[in-house]
């Protein structure tokens, strides 16, 4: 994974899946859900976030439901990564499976809204160039990096199946 650069959107602890993907919209596709992503916490989030921006949060990000639209909505909006002090287990797996980089960073609370930041998944760190800070993150295990590198579990499976069907490509 290469580094990504963007602006920080900062949230607190226990950001839940109903905030990320509100239930009333779950019957629709991700385009509709994404329009309401995080609106309970920041009504203008979906309108203001730009491709490459980064969501930064406190503990237990993605608590609650297994609905992977929570991660899909962020990815649809172009969010390049989520950096949080910790993640809820199911959300963390979902994010990786959808190719959305997630980094656990104990010092995520040092990031302020609007900070420019560079997220380096391979190097497991977040750099705040305008503030001269580099925050260390928990390294992403190799088997999850492999899924992220493929772009998510679906393309990962696609490659695996192709390799099985054609074990000796020319």
């Amino acid at each position: 994974m290469t580094a990504t650069r963007g602006r920080a959107f900062v949230f607190g602890d226990d950001v839940d899946t109903d905030a990320l993907a509100p239930g009333a919209w779950i019957k629709f596709g991700v385009e509709e859900i994404a329009r309401h992503c995080l609106e309970a916490l920041d009504p203008s989030f979906a309108a203001r976030v730009r491709p490459g921006d980064v969501v930064v949060a406190g503990r237990n990000f993605g608590a609650g439901s297994s609905r992977e639209q929570a991660a899909a909505a962020l990815r649809h909006l172009g969010v390049a990564a989520v950096v949080a002090r910790s993640f809820a287990g199911i959300f963390h797996r979902n994010a990786i499976n959808l190719g959305l980089p997630v980094l656990e960073c104990e010092r995520a609370d040092a990031v302020r809204a609007g900070d420019a930041l560079a997220v380096d998944i391979a190097g497991a760190c977040v750099e705040l160039p305008e503030r001269g800070l580099v925050l260390a993150c928990t390294p992403v295990p190799d088997h999850l990096k492999a899924i992220l590198d493929a772009g998510g579990l679906l393309p990962w499976l696609e490659r695996r199946i192709a390799a099985q069907r054609n074990p000796n490509p020319p």
Binding site: I26, N60, H92, D142, E158, I161
Partner: protein
């Protein structure tokens, strides 16, 4: 399936004791033993999907891969989130679930007969020792039966369907011991809200949470299901109970025989990450204020809060035992003027038994409105959403802002006893004054 890295060296001696979680995961991984923290690949005994997160999302991805479920006899499809259908989208979503089951020869389609986590054991799909993956966060409910059961998202479920396998970081165990016995008017829901308040919504750390102690052993299977279910609110991956004679008797009634209740328990000296001890006999009824289950406090902190509605529903709060608890308060009483009491039984089977024995009658005579057996307002996916001015007490699992209705709606979580007592009082009330 997705573990290219080799297993790390294991230095444990062959005789080292194992937790229940380790034993369950080791079996699924085809290993003699496993060590917390290592990454293993597990074979899945059962994969459960519901109408919302299942076929409509997994089906198109399966088609893109040109793949089929690895073993249709190990797949269960339940419609519960969008039943009964109430608009064009819900009609389509439920139709997709039915078509998926037919297309892929999935014989276990349980269509509109209850909430998936209750339907699974009722229909005899669970037995101790199984490794179960569910497309819903409350899938830990199966841990009440000594299964390693946990929730995943749709793409993860795709991986399971294609390969029959899933990777797992072998969990540590957080043990919760409830000493003594719960007092009158106090239930498993109160115990779980107390735990959420004490440990927080990430207190489970995505580990296995194991429940034990005198009070836990005395619980009925449906009460154990309530505890295992709300392991999700504690942030645990799985919520485990060692199966016993109570498990065997309940499963026997569900048609599951030859239940092994000897193997599936932690060795006495197995190492756990933490053990938390609580005294059941001194536990007061708990109420979790908006908008988090972790905002739990003894009922007297919130007593007197005016309410517009009371809701008995969900896999965690409207099983037969829950309906009986509510009836024990509501029998011979009436709901407060102007308060709407709603009951959405967790399964058809529980609803039928409740009707035949008079439990449901007691609720209806008290003024309760009977809603369809489904996830209903708890999921907040469609019908029965609360309004901005509603203040609700509910026996459900989650009270996140806007989950059950408008962003302004306020939901307090409590046991069926407390929901029923509060419905009578019109304000949050201590059920022990109504017993």
């Amino acid at each position: 399936m997705i573990v290219p890295t080799p297993h790390p060296d294991r230095t444990v001696s062959p005789a080292s004791p194992q937790t229940l979680a380790q034993k369950l995961v080791a079996r699924a991984a085809g290993r003699g033993r496993v060590t917390p923290g290592e990454i293993v690949t597990c074979r899945v005994d059962l994969a459960m999907m519901h109408d919302s997160g299942g076929p409509r999302r997994v089906g198109p991805m399966l088609e893109r891969l040109g793949a089929k479920p690895w073993d249709p006899s190990r797949v269960v499809v339940v419609t519960d989130h969008y039943v009964p259908v109430h608009d064009e989208e819900s009609r389509r979503i439920v139709a997709v679930a039915r078509d998926f089951a037919a297309q892929h020869s999935v014989r276990a389609l349980h269509d509109g007969i209850g909430i998936c986590h209750v339907v699974l054991p009722e229909q005899g799909h669970l037995r101790p020792g199984m490794f179960v993956v569910g497309g819903d966060s409350h899938s830990p409910t199966g841990g009440a039966f000594g299964c390693y059961a946990f929730g995943v998202g749709a793409t993860e479920m795709l991986g399971v369907l294609v390969t029959g396998e899933i990777w797992l970081k072998v969990p540590h165990t957080v043990r919760i011991r409830w000493d003594g016995r719960f007092g009158p008017g106090v239930s498993a829901k109160d115990a779980m809200l107390r735990l959420c308040g004490a440990l927080g919504m990430d207190g489970g750390g995505y580990h296995a949470v194991e429940y034990c102690g005198e009070a836990v052993e005395a619980l009925s299977m449906r009460e154990r299901m309530t505890m295992a279910n709300m392991t999700a609110e504690l942030g645990g991956q799985a919520g485990l109970f060692a199966p016993d004679a109570t498990t065997r008797a309940w499963l026997g009634e569900a048609g599951v025989h030859e239940v092994d209740v000897e193997t599936w328990r932690s060795d006495p000296s197995a190492a756990v990450l933490a053990e938390h001890r609580f005294d059941a006999s001194s536990l007061a009824p708990q109420v979790a204020a908006p908008h988090s289950p972790a905002n739990a406090a003894p009922v007297d902190v919130h007593a007197g809060t005016p309410l517009t509605a009371a809701y008995l529903g969900a896999c965690t709060g409207a099983k037969l035992d829950d309906l009986r608890m509510a009836a024990s308060i509501l029998r011979g009483r009436r709901c407060a003027e102007g308060l709407r009491l709603m009951v959405a039984p967790a399964s058809r089977r529980d609803e039928t038994i409740a009707r035949e024995e008079g439990t449901l009658g007691a609720l209806l005579e008290a003024g309760a409105e009977l809603l369809p057996t489904a996830c209903g307002a708890c999921a907040g996916y469609g019908a029965h959403r609360f309004g901005d001015d509603d203040v609700v007490i509910a026996s459900t699992a989650r009270n996140f802002r806007g989950r059950m209705g408008a962003p302004g709606s306020r939901v307090y979580l409590a046991s069926p006893y407390t929901v029923a007592a509060s419905a009578v009082a019109g304000t949050i009330a201590d059920p022990r004054e109504f017993l």
